[in-house]
Structures are given as structure tokens and as C-alpha cells.
């Protein structure tokens, strides 16, 4: 378990490769947005007709989730041994 100075270098250690993953994600997301135009929609709710609804909803709600959770932390966070004392 000790730190090994002779670690084999890993593909992810290179910052450029991490950047590649981010770009790949952006490309996949763009592809999914384009793909939406190529099939017939049979939705249950009118809002699903909005182009890119799921993409926008997923992005906005996730950012909102994290920002709200950060705010909740201010109220709920205590020290690790809060109940031990």
C-alpha cells in the first residue's frame, strides 16, 4: 500500500489525455443532440417535443443539484466526530 516511486505511468496521468476525454464527451453530447432529429417522437408529455429537452433538463438539473447541495452543506455540515463527543 505504500507509495511506489517506480509506478508504471498510466495513460490518465497525462493531462492531455484527460483533455481528450473531455473533448470526447463534448462530441458525444453534440452527436446525441443531432441524433434527436432522426426519429419519430411519441411522447407522453408536450414538453418532450422541445428539441433537446432531455439534454437541457439533465444539464440544468445537475448543476442546480450541486449548487443546492453546496448550500445545504452550510446548514448540515458538522465535524467528523460530531456525535462521538
Amino acid at each position: 500500500m505504500s507509495k511506489n516511486s517506480n509506478d508504471a505511468s498510466h495513460w490518465l496521468d497525462d493531462k492531455r489525455n484527460v483533455k481528450k476525454i473531455v473533448w470526447a464527451l463534448v462530441i458525444v453530447c453534440s452527436g446525441l443532440l443531432i441524433a434527436e432529429g432522426f426519429y419519430d417522437k411519441h411522447p407522453h408529455f408536450a414538453i418532450e417535443y422541445v428539441y433537446g429537452f432531455y439534454a437541457i433538463y439533465g444539464f440544468v438539473m445537475c448543476v442546480g443539484l450541486v449548487l443546492v447541495a453546496k448550500w445545504i452543506r452550510k446548514i448540515l455540515m458538522r465535524s467528523e466526530d460530531y456525535y462521538d463527543g
Binding site: 500500500m1 505504500s2 507509495k3 511506489n4 509506478d7 498510466h10 490518465l12 473531455v22 464527451l25 463534448v26 458525444v28 453530447c29 446525441l32 443532440l33 441524433a35 434527436e36 432522426f38 426519429y39 419519430d40 417522437k41 411519441h42 411522447p43 407522453h44 408529455f45 414538453i47 418532450e48 433537446g52 429537452f53 432531455y54 439534454a55 437541457i56 433538463y57 439533465g58 444539464f59 440544468v60 438539473m61 445537475c62 448543476v63 443539484l65 450541486v66 449548487l67 443546492v68 447541495a69 453546496k70 445545504i72 452543506r73 446548514i75 448540515l76 455540515m77 458538522r78 465535524s79 467528523e80 466526530d81 460530531y82 456525535y83 462521538d84
Partner: protein, 564 residues
């Protein structure tokens, strides 16, 4: 052959386990779930076995499609849990785990409320040993709190059963409904075990304190037994839709800021139960199929996720996101299995969660619950965010913690491998799962619209995570305790009682002081008017008494003589 409740195989087998030598024990532990599963497969739908007990007719075995589905998946989970723990040498924990898993199976196959109650309580009592087996003071206290809540659920169940019997004259466990008082009590009993909002916190409190293998086993049975019981007794109860929707949404906020990764999984377990409860509340065939199918898929991917985090805890000694990172370098198998579990819980297409959860969302669409549907969609994105990304990211990637732990032992990897295989198999080829659902399935999960919209939701959630990480907006993992409803009984209640006892003490002391003071004053007053004492002192001497008596005697003598 007379049929019997299949749960008894593991319950009775578990009792023998401590008597066996360690090598025989390992074989028996693995054989019991296999024997149970084989027997469940051989059971015919419609079979019932009754027994008379103190004037009641107990339905000790009931077989229908709903019980069989749970019977299959509980035995699969039992086998995976045992295999995962097979290197451990703790006969008490192993025995209690078997009894716990067996009693969960037995409760599912119980056809009446009394038999259900007996095994309901047995799951509570046996499972606490999986928490106590950690051997820490923290786990002891968490286990005690867990036990109180679980036993309490059983007591409510029994009270409800008694009232239902008084009203209907039957203890049969069929549809109960919330119209009667007895039904309401039973719903609360199920709700506690199912971790309904505000009744939920035993789950996040106790599960992360259990042993490495204990949490894996606990995660599969108690709450899903409650889901089964709800599906049996309260299908179509609209109130459950709102309860379930709340359950999907609120735990994810806690999961985002929680540092203990096993507790994060406990929060997402709570969130997944919400999807099932919504399905039960909607109550249509599609919705019940979705809830039951999701329970099946969920048991396996949740166990898989807890297995991977258990392996991390075992190898590094910590499960805090703030201490971990970079473990993929030396634990590649565990990392891979974790990603498969994470993809399943996130409902990626070709993963088990996708083919089951989408049925619940579609059922909501068919019935027109747009607001609930929107909440569940948010919760789906949220669960990907905290379970799908956060768990693997902070444990295995993120910043390099410098730790280079060994890969998990072979039996653990084997168990994780089977679970991962099942996650993918169910996702790629859902037909066998659909065939064992309670109702006939007329549902196609892999339509272009389903796949593309789900992928949009997930990949844009991933984009949001990346965006928050790159901009530094994402909250860092911090060593912390986050307050939840357990604060009320771990902090508020003790403080409240402490203030009551100090108040009583103060009143007591002041009362005594007042009383003593009053006596003091009386004595002092007496002292002041002590001149009055002279009279008494004068009478007090013996000679005066004799003198008085003589005077009286003379007086009466004179009276007597004059009256003659």
C-alpha cells in the same frame, strides 16, 4: 413430498453453521443458497401450505409470480454475498447472515400476517449481528439504534395484524389498503423498513457501520422485503406515488455532500427504493412490473456497488472520498466492476437499470403524472451524478491519493464478476427477466426515442459534472458529518431529556430548601414566643402534677359529701 417454505433451508442450515469445521462450513455456506434456489425453481405457482397454530390457520407457504421473483433474486444475492465473504473466518457472522437471508426469503413466501411478522422480526434480530461484527463502539451504538427501529417496525406490524384480524376475522396477507386503522399501522411498519422519508435514517446510519461483507448482504434484503410487502399489500395506493417521488429526490442532495462512500451508496439505495414505491403507488400492470423488475435489477447492481466499496475499504482501511483516489492503478478489476455497477444504477442502455426503470417512467407517462415524472427524471440524472460518477471518480480516479493497495481477493472479484455479468446480461437480453415479472409484459425498452433521450439525459449530466469540476464549483470531499433525521434522536432527544432531568433536580433542591426554611421559621417563631413555654414548664414538674391531682380529688370529695 410435502412442500415447505424455502426460507427454512437457509434459516435451519444457518443454525448448523457454527458447529462445522472451517472448510466444511465454507462448502455448506455456498451450498445453502444454491439448494434454496433449486427448490424455489421447482415450486409451482398456486401452491399453498397451511398449518394450524393456536386456533389460527397459518399460510406458511404461498407461491405466485410475485413471491417467485423475489425468491429467485434473494437467493442469487445470498449466493453472491456468501461468495464475497467466503475468505472470512467468522462463524457467528456467517451463521447470522444465513439466518437473516433465509428469514427474508421465508417472509416473502409467507401467506399470512403472523408468519410474515415472525420472519419480519427474525430478519431484524439476525441482521444486527452483521453490524455488530465490525466490533467497534460506533458500530455497536449504530446497531442498537438499528435494532430499536427494526423491532419497532415489527411491533407495528403485529398491532396492525391484530386489528385487521379483529375487523375481518382473517390474517391472510393479501391487499390491505389504507382505509382501516389496522391497514395504516401495517403501512407504517412497511414504511419504516422501506425507509420512507423521515423514517429513513436507520439505513444511512447503520449500513455504513456494518462489516465489509455485512453491508453487501444487508443492502439486498431488508428494504426489498419491504418493497415486496408494499407491492402485495398496498399496490395502487396513490399516496405512495408522492412518498416515492420524495424518496427519489431528497437523498441525492445528501449523497452529493457525503464523504463516506458507503453512506453515499446508502443514500442512493434510498433513492432507488423511491422509484419502486412510485411504481407500486401507480399500481397498473406496467408499473408493478417496473417496480418488481427494478427491485430485481437493483438488488444485484446495488450489491455490486457495495462489494466494490467493501473491497476498497478492506484494502485501504478507509472509505472516505477525501482520502481515496487513483486506486484504478492497482485495483483495475474492482474499478471495472464498479463502473459496470455505476452504469447499471444510472440506467445506461444495455445495463439492467435501463430495462426496468424505464417501465416505471413510462407508466407515469401513460397515467399522466407529469410532475412526478419530472421529479423522477431529475432523480435519474441525480443518481448518475452521485452514484454513477462520484463513486467511481473519487474512489478510483480524482487526485492520486498515493495509495497502492492490492487488488481484491479472488473470491471477491469472482462474486463481483458474476454480479457485473448479470447487470449486463439483464440489460442486453431482458426477455428472461420480463418472463418472470408478475404480469405479462408488453413493453419494448429499446426504441430509438428511449435510448437517445436517456443517453442525452445522462451524457449532459456528465457534461454538467465536468463543467462543475473544471470551474471548481464542485464541492470538495470533506471529512464531515452531515445532519440527517438521526440528529433528532442522537442529539435533540438526549439534550431534551437532559434538560428535563436537570429541571427536576433544580425543582427538587429548591423545594427542599423551601420546606427546610419553613420549618426553620416556625421553630424561630416558637422560640420568639417562648414566654408561652412558662405555662407548660410550670405544669411539667411532677410535684405540681400531684398537687393538681390532690386539688381535683378534694374538689370531687367535697362535691360528693355535699350531695348526700
Amino acid at each position: 413430498m410435502v412442500d415447505f417454505n424455502p426460507g427454512l433451508i437457509m434459516v435451519l442450515g444457518g443454525l448448523l453453521v457454527p458447529l462445522l469445521s472451517s472448510s466444511v462450513r465454507r462448502v455448506v455456506l455456498l451450498a445453502l443458497p444454491i439448494a434454496g434456489l433449486t427448490y424455489v425453481i421447482s415450486l409451482q405457482v398456486g401452491t399453498t401450505v397451511t398449518a394450524d397454530f393456536m386456533g389460527y390457520t397459518l399460510e406458511v407457504l404461498r407461491v405466485d409470480k410475485l413471491t417467485l421473483l423475489w425468491g429467485y433474486v434473494f437467493h442469487i444475492a445470498a449466493f453472491l454475498g456468501v461468495l464475497y465473504a467466503i475468505h472470512e473466518d467468522d462463524p457467528v457472522q456467517a451463521a447470522m447472515a444465513q439466518i437473516y437471508m433465509g428469514s427474508a426469503v421465508a417472509a416473502v413466501f409467507a401467506g399470512d400476517l403472523i408468519t410474515l411478522f415472525i420472519f419480519w422480526e427474525l430478519t431484524a434480530i439476525s441482521s444486527v449481528f452483521l453490524i455488530w461484527a465490525s466490533g467497534t463502539e460506533r458500530s455497536f451504538h449504530a446497531g442498537m439504534r438499528y435494532l430499536v427501529v427494526q423491532i419497532g417496525s415489527g411491533v407495528l406490524l403485529l398491532a396492525g395484524a391484530v386489528i385487521i384480524f379483529a375487523e375481518t376475522g382473517s390474517i391472510h396477507f393479501g391487499h390491505i389498503g389504507v382505509e382501516t386503522f389496522g391497514g395504516k399501522l401495517v403501512l407504517v411498519a412497511f414504511g419504516i423498513k422501506c425507509a420512507f422519508p423521515l423514517l429513513h435514517n436507520w439505513l444511512q446510519d447503520a449500513y455504513p457501520e456494518a462489516t465489509v461483507s455485512g453491508t453487501v448482504i444487508l443492502s439486498a434484503f431488508t428494504t426489498k422485503l419491504a418493497v415486496y410487502a408494499l407491492a402485495r399489500g398496498f399496490a395502487g395506493t396513490e399516496f405512495l406515488i408522492y412518498i416515492g417521488a420524495t424518496m427519489t429526490a431528497f437523498p441525492i442532495f445528501f449523497a452529493v455532500i457525503e464523504n463516506n462512500l458507503r453512506r453515499v451508496l446508502a443514500y442512493s439505495l434510498n433513492n432507488q427504493l423511491g422509484f419502486m414505491v412510485v411504481g407500486i403507488g401507480v399500481g397498473t400492470e406496467l408499473a408493478i412490473n417496473g417496480a418488481a423488475g427494478h427491485a430485481f435489477a437493483h438488488i444485484i447492481y446495488k450489491a455490486l456497488l457495495f462489494m466494490t466499496m467493501g473491497a476498497v475499504l478492506m484494502r485501504t482501511g478507509t472509505i472516505n472520498g477525501s482520502d481515496l483516489g487513483g486506486l484504478y492503478k492497482t485495483m483495475p478489476w474492482t474499478t471495472g466492476f464498479c463502473i459496470i455497477g455505476a452504469a447499471s444504477i444510472s440506467s445506461f442502455p444495455l445495463m439492467s437499470g435501463f430495462v426496468t426503470k424505464s417501465m416505471i417512467l413510462t407508466a407515469l407517462g401513460v397515467e399522466g403524472y407529469w410532475f412526478i415524472w419530472a421529479i423522477l427524471l431529475f432523480a435519474s440524472a441525480g443518481v448518475f451524478h452521485h452514484s454513477g460518477i462520484k463513486i467511481p471518480y473519487f474512489a478510483f480516479f480524482a487526485h492520486d491519493s498515493g495509495m497502492r493497495p492490492k487488488e481484491a481477493p479472488f473470491n471477491m472479484r469472482f462474486s463481483m464478476g458474476i454480479a457485473a455479468f448479470l447487470c449486463i446480461a439483464v440489460g442486453v437480453y431482458p426477455a428472461p427477466l420480463y418472463a418472470i415479472l408478475p404480469f405479462d409484459v408488453d413493453y419494448i425498452p429499446y426504441s430509438p426515442a428511449h435510448v437517445i433521450t436517456q443517453l442525452q439525459l445522462l451524457m449532459f449530466s456528465a457534461l454538467a459534472f465536468t463543467f462543475l469540476m473544471l470551474t471548481g464549483l464542485y464541492p470538495p470531499e470533506l471529512k464531515s458529518t452531515n445532519l440527517d433525521t438521526d440528529w433528532f434522536y442522537r442529539r435533540l432527544a438526549p439534550k431534551f431529556f437532559l434538560s428535563i432531568t436537570t429541571t427536576i433536580q433544580r425543582v427538587n433542591q429548591r423545594g427542599r430548601r423551601i420546606l427546610v426554611g419553613t420549618f426553620d421559621t416556625i421553630i424561630r417563631l416558637l422560640d420568639r414566643y417562648s414566654s408561652m413555654q412558662v405555662v407548660f414548664i410550670w405544669i411539667n414538674s411532677a410535684s405540681t402534677m400531684v398537687f393538681c391531682a390532690l386539688v381535683l380529688l378534694c374538689f370531687f370529695l367535697i362535691l360528693f359529701l355535699t350531695s348526700i
